[in-house]
């Protein structure tokens, strides 16, 4: 509710400040989205309309993060798909793995940036800063992971995630050998591929829906 109220105020303030100004070169729809800070291209349900199990997802997210992230609000337009995404993420991410939380966030940011998914970069950028305690690392990886302060193992993992994202048809035994040399088990390699594949889905959905990054994420862990 707090989030809804603050969003409402931001909208009202923005509209008041903008008055009747329009932006040169912008389409009407783009102007409207800019002015209203729209969460998604599609309608977002209000909490009261949600099925009980989706309400629980909202309250769970609010408890964990202090707010309901826009990805949850946007996907709630299709409760079945929101639940399916959450379950898939849980299956691949909520398990034992030789890949650390920080390593996962690193390759998610690198591939999401290469896919141009603002929502995923901003939200996982926050998660990486929190996981590492390093306030600069997310910005470095977003711009170019090859120049970032990361270990050779982390770089090898991101190289592989980039290949899964952009040239999965060419993946071969050599790629496995490189990662094994960095201490990854074959199951760890599956984890990298599986999470990367799922976020290639997520990057595309966030871009199609044009989900607005929550302002809270920009500030976390700085």
């Amino acid at each position: 509710m707090k989030k809804l109220i603050s969003t409402f105020f931001i909208t009202v303030l923005t509209l008041t400040a903008l008055g009747t100004n329009s932006f040169a070169g912008g389409t009407e729809a783009a102007e409207k989205a800019y002015a209203e800070k729209t969460i998604s291209r599609f309608p977002v349900p209000s909490v009261e309309e949600l099925p009980e199990d989706v309400k629980k997802i909202f309250t769970g997210a609010e408890k964990r993060l202090g707010f309901v992230p826009n990805i949850v609000t946007a996907l709630a337009h299709r409760p079945q798909e929101l639940k399916a995404f959450g379950a898939y993420n849980q299956a691949i991410n909520g398990k034992e793995s030789g890949i650390s939380k920080a390593e996962k966030e690193m390759f998610l940011i690198a591939t999401s940036a290469a896919n141009g998914s603002t929502y995923c970069v901003v939200s996982h950028g926050a998660a990486l800063r929190l996981a590492t305690g390093n306030p600069f690392i997310s910005d470095q990886i977003t711009a170019n992971y090859r120049e970032a302060d990361i270990t050779p193992r982390e770089k090898a993992i991101i190289d592989f995630a980039m290949k899964v994202s952009f040239d999965s048809k060419s993946i071969n035994e050599e790629d496995f050998k490189i990662l094994r040399k960095q201490g990854l088990s074959d199951e760890d390699i599956w984890d990298v591929a599986g999470i990367t594949a799922l976020y290639n889905l997520s990057n595309r959905m966030m871009n199609v829906l044009k989900v607005r990054p929550d302002e809270e994420f920009y500030k976390l862990g700085r």
Binding site: T27, A29, A30, R41, F42, R78, Q80, E81, K83, A84, F85, A87, Y88, Q90, A91, I92, K95, N115, G116, S117, V164, S165, S168, K169, I171, F176, D186, W190, A193, G194, T196, A197, L198, N200, L201, S202, N203, R204, M205, N207, V208, K210
Partner: protein, 190 residues
């Protein structure tokens, strides 16, 4: 030679080792297709992911939609061909032949949908699916207008995007695992 016919880069479990619910998935697939497709066998190495994969697919496809089964299959075949996913092209190519009753359509769409015997509406949907695949960051209101002009509702457009995003995930997993297309799929609907 037997090495070349491996189902997956990863170990594939025997039927007897499977959890009960995964056994039921294998049984159901066998009843439906006459065989257990290699995608099911390969993902059974990780039952939780197999279940998540199938439920997500069901959430996207087992619902009312303005897209016909043939529309869906040609969207999948086109971008899977573009992504170089042999498994998805062979299996959904079979599904497209069955759904359309057209034995030549899948081969056309897998190579270059722009030259295929499809309607302007279908071409517009695949154009959009290709943009979701290769340049999702540039999607804008114009793309929506184009598809609305072909009679798609906004919910239909989400269906195209959701299906394409899901199969972009699946294409990558199948290529990563090097899942071998089942011989049966090549022959179906010819």
């Amino acid at each position: 030679m037997s090495e070349m016919k491996k189902i997956s880069r990863f170990p594939v479990p025997e039927y007897d080792e499977l959890p009960e619910d995964v056994k039921q998935i294998w049984d159901g697939a066998k009843e439906h297709f006459g065989f257990v497709p290699n995608v099911v066998k390969a993902l059974s190495h990780r039952p939780a992911e197999l279940r998540a994969f199938l439920s997500y697919n069901a959430a996207l496809t087992e619902k009312e939609s303005g897209l016909t089964p043939a529309d869906r299959e040609m969207i999948i075949v086109a971008h899977s061909g573009h992504n170089g996913c042999a498994y998805c092209v062979a299996s959904h190519g079979a599904a497209l032949r069955m759904a359309s009753g057209n034995p030549t359509l899948s081969d056309q769409v897998a190579v270059n949908y722009r030259e295929a015997d499809i309607t302007p509406r279908q071409k517009a949907m695949i154009d959009f699916a290709m943009k979701v695949t290769d340049d999702s960051r540039s999607i804008n209101e114009e793309d929506f207008e184009t598809l609305r002009g072909h009679g798609l509702s906004d919910e239909d457009i989400w269906d195209v995007a959701g299906l394409t995003a899901f199969y972009n995930m699946s294409n990558r997993m199948m290529s990563f695992l090097a899942v071998r297309p089942d011989d049966e799929f090549y022959k179906m609907g010819r």
